[in-house]
C-alpha cells in the first residue's frame, strides 16, 4: 500500500516497522509448516538440516522415508508391505468419512431447525450443540472412556465414529447456520405455493443454496476427525491405529523421519481442503451477494 505524499518521516518509519512486524508474525504462523517439507526428503535419520543437505549433495537427499511410509522395502522392489502408516491411513479415512457423513447429516438438519425464527431456547440449545468444540478433548475423552466402556463401545470402530461425529457436528452447525442467516425464506414459500412438497423443496430449493456451507462444514468435520488423537488413544484399542495416533507414537518412542513424510502429506491435504473451502466461500458470496465472513 503506497503512503500518501504528505506523510512525515516518522510516520513512514512507523508504518514500515509495523509492516515488518506483521511480516514476522505471518512468518511465525507459516514457517513451521513449510520447514518440514524439505526435511522430509533428507536421507538423515534425524530431524535436522545437515550441511550436506543444505549444499544439495545428491546422497543427502532421498525418498527413502517416503518409500518406508508406503511400505516399499527398496528401490525397484514393487511389493508393498503393509505397515502401521498405511493401516493408519486406511483407518483414518474409514473413521473420518463415516463421521463426516453422520455429522453433516445431523448438523445440517439441526441448523435448519435452529435457523427457524420460532425455535424455542435457541441460545441454550446452540450453546449445547457447540460445546463439543469447546470442552477440552482430554475431558471429553475421559468421559467417553468411562461411559463407552460401560456400554461396550470402547475398542470398536462404531465408538470412534460416534465420538468423532460428536466432535465434528459443531463445525457443521456453525457453517450451515452462517449460510442460512442470509437465506430468503420467501423462496421456500414460493416453492410450496407452486406445489412442491417438503422433500422436494428441501432438495431443489434449500439444498443448492446452502450447499457451500454444508460442504465447508463437512470438510471441517472431516479434518477434525482426521486430526483427532486423544479420543482415539483412550476410546480406541491398541490395534486401532490412525495417522495421528501413529504420529504420536512415533514422536514419543522412535522419532523416525517417516513422521515428516506423513506430515508433508497432511499439509498437502490441508492446503487442498482450505483451497476448496475458500473457493466455495467466494462462490457463495458471489452468487448471493452475502458475506459468510463478516
Amino acid at each position: 500500500m503506497a503512503l500518501p505524499s504528505y506523510t512525515t518521516t516518522s510516520q513512514r518509519i512507523g508504518w514500515y516497522s509495523f509492516l515488518t512486524y506483521c511480516g514476522l508474525v505471518f512468518f511465525f504462523l507459516i514457517a513451521p509448516i513449510f520447514i518440514i517439507l524439505p526435511l522430509s526428503f533428507s536421507a538423515s535419520p534425524f530431524f535436522e538440516f545437515t550441511r550436506e543437505f543444505m549444499n544439495f549433495e545428491p546422497e543427502a537427499w532421498s525418498l527413502r522415508w517416503y518409500r518406508q511410509m508406503v511400505g516399499i522395502a527398496s528401490v525397484g522392489d514393487t511389493t508393498v508391505v503393509s505397515n502401521k502408516w498405511m493401516l493408519g491411513t486406511r483407518n483414518s479415512f474409514i473413521i473420518g468419512i463415516s463421521a463426516t457423513f453422520l455429522a453433516t447429516a445431523l448438523g445440517t438438519i439441526a441448523a435448519l431447525g435452529l435457523s427457524r425464527p420460532n425455535m424455542p431456547f435457541k441460545g441454550t440449545i446452540m450453546a449445547i450443540l457447540i460445546s463439543p468444540m469447546i470442552v477440552p478433548l482430554i475431558i471429553t475423552s475421559a468421559g467417553m472412556f468411562f461411559f463407552y466402556s460401560k456400554i461396550g463401545l470402547t475398542h470398536t470402530y462404531l465408538g470412534l465414529i460416534l465420538a468423532h461425529t460428536a466432535l465434528g457436528t459443531p463445525f457443521v452447525v456453525i457453517t450451515v447456520t452462517a449460510t442460512l442467516t442470509g437465506f430468503d425464506t420467501n423462496l421456500i414459500r414460493a416453492s410450496q405455493s407452486l406445489g412442491a412438497d417438503t422433500m422436494r423443496t428441501f432438495f431443489k430449493v434449500i439444498m443448492p443454496l446452502i450447499l457451500p456451507g454444508v460442504i465447508s462444514g463437512a470438510l471441517f468435520a472431516f479434518i477434525t476427525s482426521f486430526d483427532e488423537v486423544v479420543v482415539v488413544m483412550f476410546v480406541g484399542s491398541v490395534e486401532q491405529i490412525t495417522i495421528p495416533k501413529q504420529m504420536w507414537a512415533g514422536l514419543r518412542q522412535e522419532t523416525s523421519p517417516v513422521i515428516l513424510c506423513m506430515a508433508t502429506c497432511l499439509v498437502a491435504l490441508s492446503i487442498a481442503l482450505l483451497t476448496t473451502v475458500e473457493l466455495l466461500r467466494r462462490r457463495s458470496e458471489r452468487l448471493r451477494g452475502i458475506k459468510l465472513r463478516n
Binding site: 508474525v25 513451521p32 509448516i33 518440514i36 483412550f234 514422536l251 506430515a263
Partner: protein, 423 residues
C-alpha cells in the same frame, strides 16, 4: 409485538378464518406447529450429543464423588462400624464381620477396594493383600487376636479410624486431593504432605500459561488483524490464507514442525550458531520446557485470536480515525482513543476463545512441555491412563470443566456463541 397487538384487538372474536375459527386460535395453532417442526429438526442432533457427549461427561462428574464400590465389598462391616465409639480398638464383633467379608469377597473386588482404602490411609493395600492370603488358615474365632497376630496393623487405631472416611457412598475426597488437601483419619480436612503438593502448583501453571498465551496471541494477532482489515480485499484474502492454513493443518504436524525448529540442533539454534550470535555450546534450551509450551501454543491458537479481531475490525469505519487525525490528534493518540475502544468486542472475543481453548490443552504440553511444561490436562491423562485413580482424574476434570463452563457462559453472553468464526 405488532402481531400481539393485532391479536389483542381481535380477542373480541370479530375476525374469523374461513373455517370459522377465531384468527387468534388459528394463528397460535400454526405457530405451535412451526415450533414443533423446528424442535423436531434439532432433536436428532440434540439426542445424539446427549448420548455420545453429555451423558459421558455427566458420568465422569458422578465418578468424581462416587465412593460406592467399597460399600458393596464391606456392607456388613460398614454397618457394624457405625456402632464403634472410635475411642478404643473395635469390638470382636467388628473384627469378625471384617474377617468374613475379607475372606469371602472375590480377590478382584478386594483389590479394587484396597486401592481406594490406600488413598485414605496408605498401608491398607498391603494389609488387605496379606490378610486375604492368611485368613484362609483361620478356621474359628475369636478372630480379633488371630487377625492382630497376622499383622499388627489390625491393632492400629489409625487404620480403623480411616474407614470412617469411606463409610458414605459419596465423597468429596477426590476434590480435596485435586487442590492438595485431604481428609485425615478423623475426616478433617488437612493439607497434603509437603512432597505430595502438586496440583495447586499445576493449576497455577495452567492459568499462567493460558494467560501468557492469550497475551502473546493478542500482541501478535492485533497488528495483523488490523493490517488484514485495512488492506484491500484482494490482498487481505491472500494473507488470510496464511492465518487459515495453520488452522487447517494437523495439530500434530504443527507440533512436529516446532520440534524441528526448536530442538537443540534445530533450525533456530542452528541459525543462531551459524550467524555467530551464540557459541555452539551455548545453544538455547527451547524444547521440552515451559517456554516451548508457550511458544507452540501461541502459534497454534493465534488464528483463534485473529479471526474474531478481524471480523470486528472490518466493521470499524476508517473515517473515525481520519476525523480524529483531522482534529489534531497524533496517530498514536487517535488509535488509543478511537480505534482501540471500537475494537474491544473483538479483543474480548479473541482473548476469551484463546483462553478457553488454552486452559484444557493436553497434546502440545505433553509433546513439547517436558517436565515443567505440564498442565492440568496432562495430569488428567496421567491418572486416566497410568495410575488408574479415576476418581481423582474425574475430580480434576470436573474442576476444569467448571472453570470452562463459567468462561463459556460469559463468552456466550458477551459474544454470542453463534458468532464463532471459522474463517
Amino acid at each position: 409485538m405488532f402481531r400481539d397487538k393485532i391479536m389483542n384487538e381481535t380477542t373480541a372474536g370479530s375476525i374469523l378464518t374461513t373455517e370459522g375459527i377465531p384468527l387468534k386460535v388459528s394463528l397460535q395453532k400454526a405457530e405451535r406447529r412451526n415450533k414443533i417442526r423446528a424442535v423436531l429438526l434439532v432433536a436428532p442432533l440434540l439426542l445424539f450429543i446427549l448420548f455420545t457427549f453429555l451423558i459421558p461427561i455427566g458420568d465422569m462428574l458422578l465418578r468424581s464423588v462416587d465412593d460406592s464400590h467399597i460399600n458393596t465389598v464391606f456392607p456388613k462391616t460398614f454397618k457394624e462400624y457405625k456402632k464403634w465409639d472410635r475411642q478404643d480398638l473395635p469390638s470382636e464383633e467388628l473384627y469378625k464381620t471384617m474377617f468374613f467379608e475379607v475372606k469371602e469377597s472375590e480377590g478382584y473386588a478386594i483389590g479394587k477396594a484396597s486401592t481406594r482404602m490406600n488413598y485414605a490411609k496408605s498401608g491398607w493395600k498391603s494389609l488387605l493383600k496379606k490378610s486375604k492370603r492368611k485368613f484362609k488358615k483361620i478356621e474359628e474365632g475369636p478372630y480379633k487376636e488371630q487377625m492382630i497376630a497376622i499383622d499388627k496393623k489390625w491393632a492400629n487405631m489409625e487404620y480403623w479410624k480411616a474407614i470412617g472416611v469411606m463409610v458414605d457412598a459419596t465423597t468429596a475426597g477426590y476434590y480435596l486431593n485435586a487442590v492438595d488437601l485431604k481428609y485425615n483419619v478423623d475426616k478433617e480436612v488437612v493439607r497434603q504432605k509437603e512432597n505430595r503438593r502438586i496440583y495447586n502448583h499445576t493449576w497455577f501453571k495452567t492459568f499462567k500459561v493460558s494467560v501468557l498465551v492469550m497475551v502473546f496471541c493478542l500482541m501478535l494477532g492485533y497488528p495483523i488483524a488490523y493490517l488484514l482489515s485495512t488492506l484491500p480485499l484482494k490482498y487481505s484474502n491472500l494473507l488470510m490464507i496464511c492465518v487459515l492454513l495453520p488452522f487447517w493443518t494437523s495439530l500434530l504436524v504443527r507440533t512436529v514442525a516446532w520440534m524441528v525448529m526448536l530442538q537443540q540442533k534445530g533450525v533456530f539454534n542452528n541459525l543462531l550458531v551459524m550467524s555467530n550470535i551464540i557459541a555452539d555450546e551455548n545453544r538455547f534450551k527451547l524444547m521440552y520446557n515451559e517456554t516451548a509450551t508457550i511458544i507452540v501454543m501461541t502459534q497454534i491458537l493465534l488464528p483463534f485470536m485473529v479471526l474474531p479481531l478481524y471480523s470486528v475490525m472490518r466493521t470499524i469505519s476508517p473515517n473515525y480515525m481520519r476525523a480524529a487525525l483531522n482534529l489534531g490528534a497524533s496517530p498514536l493518540h487517535a488509535f488509543w482513543k478511537i480505534y482501540m475502544p471500537n475494537s474491544v468486542p473483538g479483543i474480548s472475543a479473541g482473548c476469551m476463545l484463546v483462553f478457553i481453548l488454552a486452559i484444557g490443552y493436553y497434546i502440545t504440553p505433553e509433546l513439547v512441555g517436558g517436565k515443567d511444561g505440564q498442565m492440568i490436562g496432562n495430569w488428567i491423562a496421567y491418572h486416566l491412563k497410568t495410575t488408574l485413580n479415576w476418581g481423582l482424574c474425574a475430580a480434576l476434570g470436573a474442576i476444569l470443566l467448571g472453570v470452562m463452563t463459567v468462561l463459556y457462559w460469559v463468552y456466550n453472553k458477551l459474544v454470542g456463541i453463534e458468532n464463532i468464526k471459522l474463517g
